[in-house]
Assembly symmetry: C2
Homo-oligomer: 252 residues x 2
DNA sequence: CCTTGTGAATGCGTTCACAGCA
DNA sequence: TGCTGTGAACGCATTCACAAGG
């Protein structure tokens, strides 16, 4: 993991486990929904169900933030929303640039979930001079030449890369040199970044391949199950081990 | 919990750890690149660098697949490509449907990385009757009414949900009822699925929030560092672990 | 009673370090 | 000699089960 640094720095570490951090946005979303329905309090059991995790995990997660619940009652929805938002740094405004305004970049620019939480699309950047000036999602696309200036003028620290794979590392280098320290990478490439820069990646192709792996195994199991009873000949031939553990890719 | 099986069933488990499975596509991509450059063999060290992991992890990962390397030499690139492809189930063809042809759905339909590995977009489905018949990425959009028929006629087992959050669960239920057993969810919702169905999710907003968390912490550390050492003493770099790896989005 | 908060137990994944083998 | 393959050690995450406390 990019971030999972294990450093034990001088200051009394605030130390929230990475796995917990990754779930906070999930809790926040569930809480926001409750808040909109004006639900005042929620138990760990209920909230866990809404977020798709189990309640013990949720309580443990919250215990890293502090003691925000009331025994015998549950958690105050509004208060928790605030605490988690603050912990995630969503009480401030994060200007974001998107580099690479193709199909995907445009889709990201149009994505509403952006503004909903502290994120603001500060600029769209593309290498195609023909795109310069054209508005996408109401924001004019700017040319790559302006990249450094844009980053600096807007104090951008988070960049989204939606370029073709071939351009990604180069764009990444420029973003980092200009001061970006967090990158969300949609290009199917491994990005090399210096220490102190976080990279998270989203890769459709990888996700599908992981699904295919499990899918294939399910098919093998079916066949094995079918063959198991009828045919007595249990040869060791099929080395395709029928072990039935299909891991939970997600809560649910 | 959807899946989280823990059972240790009869047969001796073929058991490839989930974390390993999630990295196989990464190795495969690096190997494919080497293959295209006609590199015949590669050491664990080199391949690990290309995939952005450390070599011990890579060797351990491969050890779950079998002994495909040669001591003192390394791995045969072509052979490994084949073995990993087979393990991931990419030697067969996976028809996929995309439901929800908005900005994102259209971007996914146009995404080239699909066909490159065993995946084929069998159909595009949208609830808007106005879209029916319109071609996106060369494929005519079909109406949601046809969903069940499409799934069954094409033997689709993998579905991609790119609808608005409000429609996702409903679409998911219909996909599952029609026979889909693997779902890639782009909608910002927790999907409930029966056992035996795998769900992976991709959520832009969550990724950004995780980045924001670390970003905020960096800012805090900077300030703390500045305050801690008023003037001189710039110590030996910032802590930071030795490994410069790149993360993964993974389960959740 | 109820539900939170948390030590303790367990399980999984990563890393280490070296034995085994071309 | 050099690199793979792997047992063992370690560390992180999850789960259990119950004490604490409204």
């Amino acid at each position: 993991m990019a971030t999972g640094r294990t450093h034990r720095p001088a200051t009394r570490s605030r130390g929230i486990p990475e796995a917990t951090v990754a779930r906070l946005p999930l809790y926040l979303r569930a809480l926001t929904a409750l808040s909109e329905r004006s639900v005042p309090t929620v138990s760990s059991e209920e909230l866990a169900a809404a977020a798709g995790v189990n309640s013990a995990k949720l309580r443990k997660d919250f215990s890293y933030l502090g003691s925000y619940g009331t025994r015998g009652v549950g958690y105050d929805v509004e208060y928790l929303v605030y605490q988690i938002s603050r912990e995630l740094g969503l009480t401030q405004d994060w200007p974001v640039v998107i580099v690479g305004i193709g199909n995907l970049g445009a889709a990201l620019a149009n994505y509403g979930g952006f503004a909903s939480r502290g994120f603001r699309v500060a600029a769209l950047i593309d290498a195609d001079p023909g795109m310069a000036g054209k508005p996408v999602a109401g924001i004019p696309v700017q040319h790559t030449d302006e990249l450094e200036k844009i980053i600096q003028d807007n104090g951008v620290s988070i960049g989204v890369i939606a370029t073709p794979a071939g351009a990604a590392q180069q764009v990444c280098d420029r973003l980092v040199a200009a001061g970006v320290t967090s990158i969300l990478n949609f290009a199917p490439t491994v990005l090399n970044v210096p220490d102190g820069v976080d990279v998270r990646k989203v890769d459709l192709s990888i996700e599908l391949q992981i699904l295919a792996f499990h899918e294939q195994r399910k098919a093998g199991e079916e066949a094995a199950a079918e063959a198991a009873v009828p045919a007595a000949a249990r040869k060791a031939s099929t080395d395709q081990g029928p072990d039935g553990d299909v891991p939970a890719v997600m809560p649910a």
